[in-house]
Amino acid sequence: MGEIKIKRFMLCNEAIARGCLEAGLDFATGYPGTPSSEVIDTLNAYHDRNFYVEWSVNEKVALENAIGASWCGLRSICVMKHVGLNVAADPFMSLAYTGVKGGLVVLSADDPFPHSSQNEQDSRRYAHAAKIPCLDPSTPQEAKDMVKYAFCLSERHEIPVMLRPTTRICHARSDIEIDDIPKESRRGRFVKDPKRWVLVPAHAKELHKKLNEKQEKIIEDLSSTPFNYSINRGETAIISSGVASAYAHELIPDGVSFMKIGTYPIDLRKLKAFTERHKKILVIEELDPVLEEAARMVSSSEIIGKMTGDVPLGGELNLNIVHGILEKNGISPKIRYEERDPEEGLPKRPPSLCAGCMHQPTLYAIEEVFKGDIYPSDIGCYTLSAHAIDTCLCMGSSVSIGSGISHCEGRNVVVTIGDSTFMHTGIPGLINAVYNDAKMVLVILDNRTTAMTGHQPSPGTGENISGTCKELSLEAICRACGADLVETVDPYDFVVMKEALHRAKAKHGVRVIIARHPCAIIEKRRKGEEIPFEIDVKRCTKCGDCLDYGCPAIELYDIKPIINDLCNGCGICSVLCSSGAITRRKER
């Protein structure tokens, strides 16, 4: 077996996609969400593909499509971020009962810190609640190995399997071993079996029993993998999982025992035997104290972790934090780092909307026309704006929170939601608002893409993952939902945008304005650079209106604003400037 494998420098999400192909994947679905999006993007970019792949409208329909494929006997994966699993929770929880035919992997990527999410929920809890196995990779290579194993595990026990990488794993790039991809592809066939696929109460009772019976065999299967291991070498031990186990492994000194857990359900007998050999056990994991609770359940030894306040309950871990935890608990780390403090008082550099982004003039116009009113918003790039964003909770929530507020408040409610987010879960909220006689303005920010996650197509764009397709009309959908007014405007025409908002303000009921202009990044790729604008210093009165607008292309130089190289020539600032100091440059 001494053969040397070819290695490539791959992003973990690319490696997971590669692992799926090496396992003979037939069917892939997903909804974009950082840090998971590159898995489907990579599968799509693969040449000569003999499998089906789609960007679905949301995670629930993505999972149900994958279930359809699995019940036809095909190997399928459904990819989402952790909060996407909330949307897919309905099929997810019951799927454990019916089980699967072809291997089905649910990839739910968690986001400790959180880098690009609204919460820090732990998908391991979901796997536990559904009684399905969960694989928790600690390196990109292990993530690839795990996804291959996951398809086999899923088929052996006819159960869906969760793969749960975290941001630091998904977006790690490493040298990855490459194996061959099988050429042949399977054809699906649905075999009728009402006792399994028709989940009425009588069948559910029996299937729940079977699901419970599977657990022991699954634990046995998992215990044979290299994803769990332990080393005994002292009275103190560290138990760890995921990326935290890589940090712990790097710092653990020779005389301390180590147990790495990479699969769930945890083998409690092994855990008990390990804990009983040690007086003191340090549990180091990210997000919820899942390992720690299991250790406390089976052990009478001293357990140190999140529940004793030694390991932080939120955020992500790193070597410096783990270093501190070890030292505090009398374990001398193998490596010592120099104490260095970050420089304080530096100007922050948060992410911001791009120069020329269509969200900014739309939101700015809303703030001007509906001064002092209420602006429920949603998940997307627009949350980066400093204007007209009062709420952001979860996908599609703007429309329904907005209609809820409109039933309670006298002020106008102006809701904003992106085109992809509206298609995802905004539509039921609109139907509900019309049905229950809400009074609000809904502005759909239609930038013709799913920008934040890397420009994936959505049903209103006329493109799906494979190319051009039927284009669903936002206007027709909103009219069919019963909106009292549906108007489409280009927010680059700032005056017209404001007029449309004024018209909407004067009307009653549920009024929809579709603000449509392509994402500035996409437009630049298609059309190239536009001639930028400049500020005539002699005419500038230093009023600050252009700076308040918040375009990254306008910056303060000494005491006057200037327009920098980021300018994409949208020209909104020239409309806002009351002294006429901003004009398009004469030449490039």
Partner: protein, 192 residues
């Protein structure tokens, strides 16, 4: 022992590409490598950090006080992430500022980065990478200028580093990128 590198800058400047070049050089030399990238929300003009760890079975994040080298595409970001460096670690930095909009909104001044780069780092090599990249043919190659400036201190055979560049950049830009690399390499003005 691992060689730990942190590459920082402003979203869109090409930090991910720089990290990729290092990673490809590792693959060529058959060495283990793991890097951490900033994707998604944080990319939009925000401060971005990429960690690269060469040799050893390691987690993806470089510890504070543990980096052998910090490459910064923007001087304020060099100061923001300076604490990642070991005391004897080296800073490689561009001197051209990108002033964040918060300077206007929060009323904080953009610091005097030229003098801070000199006073805060024991061992630093800095240059105006934008001018050198423009001279090479495209200002976007500033990240490659810095790879050139860093090259004598990177743990690679030079031909492998250059092959790493070739594998990572679009083929039609290779000539400009090679010129940028050479201009960075010969700009060997040690500032401290």
């Amino acid at each position: 022992m691992s060689f730990d590198l942190v590459i920082v800058g402003v979203g869109g400047q090409g930090t991910i590409l720089s990290a990729r070049i290092i990673g490809e050089a590792c693959i060529i030399e058959g060495r283990h490598v793991i890097s951490a990238e900033t994707h998604g929300m944080a990319q939009r003009g925000g401060s971005v950090e990429n960690h690269v760890r060469i040799d050893g079975e390691l987690g993806p994040l470089v510890p504070i006080g543990g980096a052998d080298m910090l490459i910064s595409l923007e001087p304020l970001e060099a100061i923001r992430y300076g604490h990642y460096l070991k005391k004897d670690g080296i800073l490689i930095s561009n001197t051209v500022p990108i002033v964040p909009p918060t300077v206007y909104r929060a009323g904080i001044l953009y610091p005097d980065t030229d003098s801070l780069l000199l006073s805060k780092f024991n061992h630093a090599k800095i240059c105006n990478a934008n001018i050198l990249a423009t001279e090479a043919g495209n200002v976007l190659a500033a990240n490659i200028v810095l790879i050139g400036l860093a090259s004598p201190h990177l743990p690679f055979e030079e031909e492998n580093l250059i092959e790493g560049i070739r594998r990572s950049v679009p083929p039609k830009t290779m000539e400009i990128n090679m010129k940028a690399y050479e201009l960075g390499k010969i700009h060997n003005e040690e500032t401290c």
